[in-house]
Amino acid sequence: MIYLDYAASTPVDPAVIESMAVAMAAPGNYANPSSTHSEGRYSNELIARAAGQLAELVGTSPDRLIWTSGATESDNLAILGAATYREDRGRHLVSMRTEHKAVTDPFATLAQRGFEVTWLDPDPDGRLGLDKLQSALRDDTQLVSVMHVNNETGIVQDIAGIGELCRERGVLYHVDAAQSCGKLPIDLDALPVDLMSMTAHKFYGPKGIGALYIADRKGVHVDPMLFGGGQQRRLRPGTLPTQQIVGLGETAAIATQRMAQDLEHLRTLRDRFWAGIQDLPGLIVNGSLEHGFPGILNVSAAGVEGESLLLALEPLCVATGSACNSKSQEPSYVLRALGLSDELAQAAIRFSFGRPTTEAEVDTAIALYRGAVTRLRQLAPAA
């Protein structure tokens, strides 16, 4: 099998696995970090160290980070939490149709609870036009959520530009950075971002651990969703999962070191892959090579059915739509929002490359894709 589904999840770096094993086994590391005895203080120090590592990666201070069970929880805590906390300032919210379900679903829930949500469509290249956002903002707008890197297309939004517009209007700005954290440079101290969601398993860390950044700025606060032991300033109680946090910290430290080289590697792979298939007739890049994160290339081949294409590509592990949607037969709503027909949306394949991907794997993928597209087109009746 050739795994080209790094946008869905990644293998965990061996150094990270090692750090987690130690945090579970070494005498005392397993103590409850809330305990006051020496062992509890020690596991607490492990957590403080991890917070420092993640804070360094995204350019903020450790006390701005809340640990969560992943980006889904971070997105929910940010969106439901901020909207509820700031309810009295206005009940208008703005987001995009191309967001991940972990963002669109909380907004849909808020819409049922009496909030008004404006859903912005992307420009044809997938990006949000700042003028569109400008005219969507109202006096009662209190929260905008626009992701950094799109999980299906790799499109990178102008989060600095979006954040500036929000700040001018006194609107909170939340960024779902599940796909960019650890892969693209992010400097929260310099960015006009108020809330940002992160998750470890998209950048060679463990599944089930993430964080929410909450800016140290007046009016930036969230209501908690969970109530209990009082951990994390009551914002997110529950025994802190030391080994998961240590794993995320280690993941972040490695990413800080490797980011430039990783990006270069991904760019080489993506360009090689595209060069190897681009002469096939009827290919459409969903998103944009120019504004795209190079770890993701989403391509549709006209006249080829998606599910058959996926099977014909075996042993290539790739995705149609995003992993989270990939069990449904529905064409991806993200690609539909980019203006694709149902048929082209269903024929879309997301290739996503990773740190372990080799040029030989890319070459095999090229051969498999060319062969599969050609064969299925031959099999199909003339349209």
Binding site: G303, E305, E307, S308, L311, A312, Q329, D342, E343, Q346, L376, Q378, L379, A380, P381, A383
Partner: protein, 121 residues
């Protein structure tokens, strides 16, 4: 949920469909419905289906079913096509319920091919 959605038989039929293509000069019928497209052609002699071929745009189950149907119908009397029922294929290929509609399009295409044959004879 975690099971392989394709049986070994579906995989084999999908990977090597021996009846893919068109039979020049034979009877033919096409259907475009429910997001799938099927073209069938048959060479008939003395009311008997001598050879059958298909072209299909659709999911692996549809392609496998078309291949299996072609293989099964060769050698049969053409009138049998008029009453072809896909239920046997659905079972033998373990077609998931949500795909039933597509396989019924294949059923329609086969019956329609049967009508083309019997009406022109």
């Amino acid at each position: 949920m975690s099971a392989d959605p394709y049986s070994d038989r579906v995989r084999a039929l999908f990977a090597r469909p021996e009846h893919a293509g068109t039979l020049e000069g034979g009877a033919s019928a096409s259907i475009d419905d429910q997001g799938v497209r099927i073209s069938l052609s048959a060479r008939v002699s003395d009311g008997q289906v001598e050879a059958m071929a298909f072209q299909a745009y659709g999911c692996p189950h549809l392609i496998a079913a078309a291949e299996a149907a072609c293989a099964e119908l060769e050698g049969r009397d053409a009138v049998e096509l008029l009453e072809f029922a896909a239920s046997g294929l659905m079972q033998s290929l373990s077609v998931p319920v949500e795909k039933t509609g597509r396989i019924l399009v294949l059923e329609d295409a086969i019956r329609s091919l049967g009508r083309v044959i019997t009406e022109t004879q």
